[in-house]
Amino acid sequence: MRATCWMGKQKVSVERVPDPQILNARDAIVRVTATTICGSDLHLYNGYMPTMQKGDILGHEFMGEVVEVGKGVKNLEPGDRVVVPFCIACGNCEQCTLGNTSACENSNPTPWLPEKLMGHATCGAFGYSHLTGGFAGGQAEYVRVPYADFGPMKVLKALTDEQVLFLSDIFPTGYMGAELCDLTPKKVVAVWGAGPVGQFAIASAKLLGAERIIAIDRFPYRLKLAAEKAGATDVINYEEQPVQEVLRDLTAGRGPDACIDAVGLEAHGHGLQYAHDSTKQKLKLQMDRPLAVREAIMALRSAGIVSILGVYAGFVDKFPLGTVMNRGITIRTGQCSVHRYMKPLLERIEQGEIDPSFVVSHQLNLDDAAHGYDMFMHKQDDVMKIVMRA
């Protein structure tokens, strides 16, 4: 089959690789009908995530048609149309039974790698380095899905691929980010990053009833989409306006009740802080550039909540812990436990409360994956979300 392989820093290519086969009884093989490039794939593309190997198949957002199931899978059969959560979870361990599927204790077959870096193992995930188990990803013609009796969700044909595809990651992730903010009507929330996850965080904050939603980015087209489609009430272009001052003005000095970081480890910015972080990151003295989360913490109202959705890999410097402590700030974060959000969010889509396809900007053939990565990384052609098909 053809698959998008990571071949080195900023090098991906579509290669011929063996077809996947059933390895475990609870596996299914899915023919991918639609897949996308995620902002977090860019961290792999740019070489910021450790343990990547040449030839790793990328992609953790995909949906498709079941073509084969293992003997242990009773709930699916060939022909079923499914959306697959990016995190792999067994459904049996204590964390899974509590709903924390992104903390599954069984789905990572290489736990010794994250144990070294993060203290304990993470869950397994598709196409996301060997820290998350070394599973082939979904930017391919076919993909093997472990624990297929627990993860994939069947969807009816009435909805288009573009409407349900993002249930695999970014819609639940954005929704979780808003949910973690304990939003009630009359609350003010600021969202750093108006990329696809940021758009869904904004849209979800609106679904959850926030009164004022402020989007922060540097690309006018992204801020425009946030205001026109996602539901932002205010936008700040940080290259033109001083973020802290504007937020102070918008909230009459209080600061937002909640701040969402939908940026992660490759934050951009300017001035001394950005120079410091990018130099240290280049020298491998720190793994992440935490500019957005620093700014969010400083801007937040005292006793507010910072919700971190952006992906971080390891250790950061100059983290304003003193502010967190002295102003009673709560930090909430996590890889999204997609499994527990898929059904309720599918219902919202079915009832017409939201149409996730508003983020789609480009349709590509899988063969053009390399072009897609390059375009997405350089934010060319007003790119928002790229959907690829084999």
């Binding site: 698959a3 392989c5 690789v17 063996p18 077809d19 996947p20 086969q21 059933i22 390895l23 475990n24 009884a25 609870r26 596996d27 190997q53 040449k54 030839g55 790793d56 198949i57 293992g70 003997k71 242990g72 067994c90 459904g91 049996n92 361990c93 204590e94 039974t97 204790e105 069984n106 789905s107 077959p109 290489t110 736990p111 397994g124 196409g127 060997h130 188990g133 070394g134 599973f135 082939a136 990803g137 093997r144 472990p146 624990y147």
Partner: protein, 314 residues
């Protein structure tokens, strides 16, 4: 076998903070002496009653460099016996040099004092070395690992007690046959072709709580305890493998490297019914996250496609 409770407490008697105070003291003494020998060799030579010469200065400076190195080595790891034994060897060398000096140089009284001082330090070095050595090769410190399994204790106990099924999670085991309290184990360690076999005798068996065994005619024994995890129905499983003197080398290393993975697979099989494979772990050698050829996959014993699947209780 030592009780598990000894290892529960964070502060074991032989890890108490005061136990390496002597080693640390000797380390600092080494640094001070080494610095003096390098900086003021002539003055020191006079102090111990030796007439300074270019040769004695050079020898003293070399001794000083050695002392500095020994001091750093001891202070970096005061519980390790090797740097301390190196100090003892250095002391012996010092004493030999002083003995040589006594045959030809002046001021016998000062030299005798120096010999007595070095002798005293040597005694302390020997004491510290022996103490550290005893701790380092303590034969009763078992290999320990633990895991929490989301199943009731009785079920976890019963699955472990069914020794004949352990090869499903312990790759290196070929088969286990049980005959009353005796069991016969056949293994192929390190993925090789050589077969190793042994008999084990059950020494303790409390349903739902403890299984302990002794490998016949050896100093290797094991003990597994099962306890209900706080606030849940899950089971805490703790494994101790004790490897006595004489086997301490390869057997202990093998146990250490295996037990953790064994427990993880044991948890997986009990909770999910199978040992999960990824594209990277289906082969023995490092492999990128992309499918392997079918003939490569077929070699992995955990590939369950061709076996009847284990029924999982939801």
């Amino acid at each position: 076998m030592k009780s598990l409770d000894t290892f529960r407490s964070g502060l074991r008697s032989d890890d108490a903070p005061s136990s390496d105070a002597l080693a640390r003291g000797l380390g600092w003494f080494s640094l001070a002496r080494g610095a003096a020998e390098v900086a003021i060799p002539r003055l020191l030579a006079r102090g111990i009653g030796i007439e300074p010469s270019p040769v004695t200065s050079l020898v003293t400076r070399l001794m000083g460099a050695r002392e500095l190195a020994a001091g750093v080595a001891v202070l970096l790891n005061p519980r390790s016996p090797l740097p301390l034994w190196a100090r003892v060897a250095g002391d012996a060398f010092d004493l030999a040099l002083l003995g040589l000096a006594s045959t030809r140089r002046t001021s016998g009284l000062r030299l005798a004092g120096a010999i007595a001082a070095v002798g005293g330090v040597t005694a302390l070095d020997i004491v510290a070395s022996i103490k550290a050595q005893r701790k380092a090769v303590h034969p009763n410190r078992p290999v320990m690992f633990s895991v929490t399994i989301n199943k009731p204790t009785n079920e976890v106990y019963a699955r472990f007690r069914d020794f004949a099924r352990l090869p499903e999670v312990m790759d290196y085991l070929e088969r286990v046959t049980v005959d009353g309290k005796r069991s016969h184990w056949v293994a192929k360690p390190f993925g090789g072709t050589r077969t190793v076999a042994w008999d084990a005798e059950l020494t303790e068996d409390i349903p739902g709580r403890v299984i302990a065994w002794q490998v016949v005619d050896s100093l290797i024994s094991g003990r597994v305890t099962f306890a209900t995890a706080p606030g849940s129905e899950a089971t805490e499983v703790r494994v101790e493998i004790e490897v006595g003197k004489g086997h301490a080398g390869i057997a202990k290393w093998f146990a250490k490297s295996q037990v953790k993975g064994d427990l993880r697979r044991f948890k997986q099989v009990l909770e999910t019914g199978e040992v999960l494979l990824s594209d990277a772990t289906v082969t023995r050698k490092p492999h990128p996250a992309q499918p392997s050829e079918p003939e490569v996959i077929a070699k992995n014993p955990h590939v369950t496609n061709n076996r009847s699947p284990v029924e999982v209780q939801p």
